[in-house]
């Protein structure tokens, strides 16, 4: 027992003094990353599955932008299905003191068919259905509207007393930007609100329950009309797609961290084996058996795995919490338990990477011959443990076999490292053409003497610096871009649903209040029915899931002149019965100048000719449209109006007055949204910073390991120079010059590569305009030099001692 204790304490010291600690840090990083990502992914997945049907509030839902046809309702009832219908729209809710944009869900008493609706009234008793004359509010509306149960709230033209609070409701939208609170009213009170008029944006849902066969038959028998879609639990919701994208970004970052950690692991182990082969020979000469040596090495490996697992899992859970913060609003308060699965998965990944990385070199260590203590002999190492390499490859094929992205990233990184090595080496060759002092000349000639080694070092140095820069820049560019959408002079209130009769007065009111506003835009809801005479559902683009514009209703408008902030990229704004199309949509639909398109508004078809294509900046928050018609094409169609204006904080009373004077006009006040967005950005920023920090730690650890190992390799050579009489100054200057040049070149090339890849990511990955970061050309070389200085200071100092 005591003997085991000594082996354990010896192994522990061997890990720290034998330079195996980077292995432990690398393993910890790998486990932390995998625990964090898989815990988060599992939780979200469980939330989605748990809520499945509850989320839909029924087994099957028909969503439509038109009222549900009475005939369909009857047909469903005839088929023995249970149904319930809902209309929802956004409008202003007013209390005596305050006002707030709300989503009104007008439901029947049978709502919901699945999931639970818990409403709590003044007597604190729980109700599960909405009755006529009742008004139920989301909890936060009470504070926003400064109201209590029993107070009268105006919803559009209707005035209703607050019945109670919504404690739990199905159909929660997984949209972090959705800051509009919900209210429930009964469908019989809908007309009183006056919010529904021609052209106003109302969404209709028909909830249907029944046995799977009847549901399938019903679904089969009904032909969807334009603007309609089926939703069942198998259909991927927008939230799921959003989560998948987020997961993909997280996976890529984490893959990079894992790759860097794995390389650190391998390099450290190889170095350890070189350093410790003499110890093993000595132990063998003293009579230690292979079995004893195996126990000794296994103890070290076990200690490293267990410590890394404990620390890594804790760190992973912390990281998961950090990543979860921005999702707080969309995840339920009580999160599903994920069990031990993420920890097992993390252990599996760590074993897949760690076992070959550790055991292959350590098994070779067992081959160190005892005779080496007296006479150095060349050793033929056994290759019996090479099969362990199959572990990571099999795991990659099993888990990522079909994931092209992962393979592309892996191959891309490999190619990139070769390119980076070549570039950095070329840069150093260029430098060597210049005239330098003695130290730099010696350093440059040392680098050129062993091009293979230097290139490997440069590739790893610039590669890890580039990865660190990329993780950081993607984070700051994304956040920067989101911040830009909230420009200081951008309009921050949008008035929609203005009826044609109200339009003139509304604009005059804005002028009178001194609120700078845009022109008023007619909003006409319609859809595309034909392109160049061909029905849309016969077009190839109709089958493309990315092209959604053909299947839904779109906002049309007409103008005398195109907005000055839309650049015309093709054609001219001329001609009769014409339409100007946004260029990306035109490309998706294969539209050319002169093509004819047929549209339909309220079952009225009309045709227009494409006269121009426009570039539109959707993020600018200015009113923008995909289709802008000439007045003669659409002016006689039913429309509502929209206007945007900017209101400062002290102009809130004016906005409130406007809202009261026009209760049916919906005000989208982005100022409250902006606060929400800002706080969300702060949370996302924290999460991404946590993630980027992990990347930075992994990158710096790799560079640190690489530099120290490279210098230790040359220990004998340097100590010999010193023994032969080279001055401390000469050796240290040459070494600093050599590694300084490596850092400079690696940093510079890393900056170029990071810029190129970042631009590509921004353009094709995030569809944003790329930015130039000149500061990176200073920051990265300086960062590289700092890491070089910190890593090598103590090593160089120890090397200055003469050979004994």
């Amino acid at each position: 027992m005591k003997t085991n204790k000594m082996i354990i304490s010896w192994s522990w010291r061997e890990i720290w003094s034998g330079q195996l600690w980077p292995v432990m840090v690398a393993l910890t990083l790998i486990i932390a990353c995998v625990v964090a990502l898989s815990t988060l992914a599992l939780r979200v997945e469980k939330v989605m599955t748990n809520q499945g049907r509850d989320l839909l509030a029924a087994d099957l839902v028909l969503r439509s932008s038109n009222p549900i046809p009475e005939l369909l309702v009857e047909k469903a009832q005839d088929a023995g299905l249970t149904i319930s219908s809902q209309s929802r729209f956004q409008t202003m809710a007013f209390s005596d003191e305050k006002l707030q944009l709300v989503t009104v869900k007008s439901v029947e008493s049978s709502y919901p068919l699945r999931g639970s609706l818990t409403l709590r009234d003044a007597n604190q008793s729980a109700k599960n259905q909405v009755k006529a004359g009742e008004l139920w509010l989301s909890p936060r509306l009470f504070s926003i509207l400064e109201s209590k149960v029993g107070d009268i709230i105006a919803i559009g033209d209707a005035e209703l007393p607050i019945t109670g609070v919504i404690e739990e409701e199905p159909e929660l939208a997984y949209n972090p930007f959705n800051s509009i609170p919900n209210v429930f009213i009964h469908s019989s009170d809908l007309d009183k609100t006056g919010a529904i008029q021609i052209g106003s944006r109302v969404r209709y849902r028909l909830f249907i329950n029944g046995d799977p066969t009847s549901l399938a038959a019903f679904q089969e028998s009904y032909e969807l009309q334009p603007g309609e879609s089926w939703v069942d639990q198998n259909r991927e919701s927008r939230a799921v797609r959003l989560m998948d994208k987020a997961k993909q970004y997280l996976s890529l970052t984490i893959l990079m961290v894992i790759l860097m950690a794995a390389v650190t692991l391998i390099l450290t182990c190889l170095h350890y084996v070189r350093n410790r082969s003499e110890t093993v020979s000595m132990l063998k000469s003293m009579g230690s058996s292979r079995a004893w040596l195996r126990t000794w090495l296994t103890t070290q490996v076990l200690i490293m795995f267990i410590s890394a697992f404990v620390v890594g899992s804790t760190l992973g859970l912390l990281l998961e919490y950090l990543l979860r913060v921005p999702l707080a609003d969309i995840l339920p308060q009580e999160l599903p338990n994920v069990g031990v699965q993420p920890f097992l998965f993390a252990l599996g990944v760590a074993l897949c990477i760690g076992l070959p990385a550790l055991l292959i070199p350590l098994t070779r260590l067992l081959d160190a011959p005892a005779i080496n203590v007296i006479q150095k002999q060349s050793v033929t190492y056994s290759k019996t443990s090479w099969w362990l390499l199959l572990l990571p490859f099999t795991a990659l094929v099993v888990f990522y076999g079909g994931n092209k992205l992962v393979w592309m990233v892996l191959i891309g990184l490999l190619v990139l490292f070769v390119v980076l090595a070549g570039l950095s080496y070329g840069f150093l060759q260029l430098l060597s053409k210049l005239k330098w002092g003695a130290a730099f000349s010696l350093a440059l000639s040392r680098i050129s003497r062993s091009p293979k080694n230097s290139m490997m070092q440069l590739a790893a140095l610039s590669g890890s610096l580039m990865l660190v820069a990329l993780i950081w820049l993607v984070k700051s560019d994304l956040l920067g871009d989101w911040q830009q959408t909230l420009a200081p002079d951008a309009p921050n209130v949008f008035s929609i649903n203005i009826s044609p009769e109200q339009q003139q007065n509304y604009l005059q009111e804005l002028d009178k209040s001194g609120l700078p506003h845009s022109d008023a835009f007619a909003i006409i809801r319609g859809r595309i029915t034909k392109i160049k005479g061909q029905e849309t559902n016969e077009l190839a683009a109709y089958q493309d899931p990315e092209v959604r514009i053909l299947k839904r209703e779109v906002n049309f408008t007409w103008m005398d002149q195109l907005p000055i902030y839309n650049e015309v990229v093709a054609g001219d704004w001329t001609g009769e019965k014409t339409v100007s199309v946004e260029q990306e949509v035109a490309e998706e639909l294969g539209l050319q100048i002169g093509d004819t398109m047929t549209f339909e508004v309220n079952s009225q078809p009309f045709t227009a000719t494409v006269n121009s294509l426009r570039a539109v900046e959707w993020q600018s928050l200015k009113p923008n449209f995909v289709f802008i018609f000439s007045k003669d094409a659409v002016a006689n169609l039913p429309s509502t109006w929209m206007v945007s204006f900017r209101a400062e904080e002290d102009q809130t009373p004016l906005v409130n007055e406007l809202a009261r004077a026009y209760p049916t006009v919906t005000l989208l006040d982005l100022r409250t949204m902006a606060t929400k967005v800002q706080s969300l950005l702060r949370q996302i920023s924290w999460s991404l910073t946590g993630l980027a920090a992990l990347g930075v730690v992994a990158g710096i650890l790799l560079i640190f390991t690489l530099l120290r190992l490279s210098l230790s390799e040359r220990k004998r050579e340097i100590t010999l120079y010193r023994t032969l009489g080279a001055s401390k100054k000469r050796i240290s200057h040459t070494l600093w010059a050599e590694y300084g040049l490596l850092a400079l070149s690696g940093g510079f090339v890393a900056a170029i590569a990071a810029e190129v890849i970042l631009s590509a990511l921004m353009i094709w990955g995030f569809e944003l305009s790329p930015q130039w970061h000149p500061s990176m050309f200073i920051v990265l070389p300086v960062l590289a030099m700092i890491v070089v200085f910190v890593s090598l200071r103590s090593v160089i100092k120890s090397l200055m001692k003469p050979l004994r």
Binding site: T3, K5, W10
Partner: protein, 228 residues
Amino acid sequence: MSQSIINVENITKSVISNDNELSILKGISFNINEGESVAIMGTSGAGKSTMMSLLAGLDLPSSGSISLLGSIISDMDDEQRAKMRSESIGFVFQNFLLIPSLNALQNVTLPMLLRGNEDQEDNERKAKKLLAEVGLSGRETHLPTQLSGGEQQRVALARAFVTQPKVLFADEPTGNLDQKTAKTIVELLFAMNKEQGTTLVLVTHDPELAKRCQRTLIMNAGQCQESA
């Protein structure tokens, strides 16, 4: 009458270097008796170290046979030879070869641990006694880096003698030490050798050190001769 502890019968050792067979030892025979001290001398490249590796069972001869403690080395596999070394053989090396991450006491207890002595208290007691004998009382917890060259070689001596080996092989034990320290280490080596009655096989360049041994074998171009 003393018994033979090492018997070398007509051994040769060749290695392949650049596709050529290089003969290092050419038909050597000699005998070493229990309790004897024998110096092996010779110029660099004469085959001293190869001879020592073979005698200690670290390597095998190309032909001929070596009997160590009554067993033919070539008949034993790696594990059997390791077992024999752990039970009956001690080593002192020119460059000390202490484990850097173990302190002086742990370095000395290590051979007992390898031998399978599980009683750590007993191991430590023996190690402390040996360390006191080599003059390192109070330095038990010091790591090799905290000890001078001479002190490290004392620890190595204590480590070599702690298992009371039947044969001690010393490879240039004073080669890395200054003259004064070397003298102290030699005195210690012979004193402990005498005390334990160990057979000593010493490889050295130093004629003065060789004179302290009962016999000297001179190696030259792969041949071995007993010095007069």
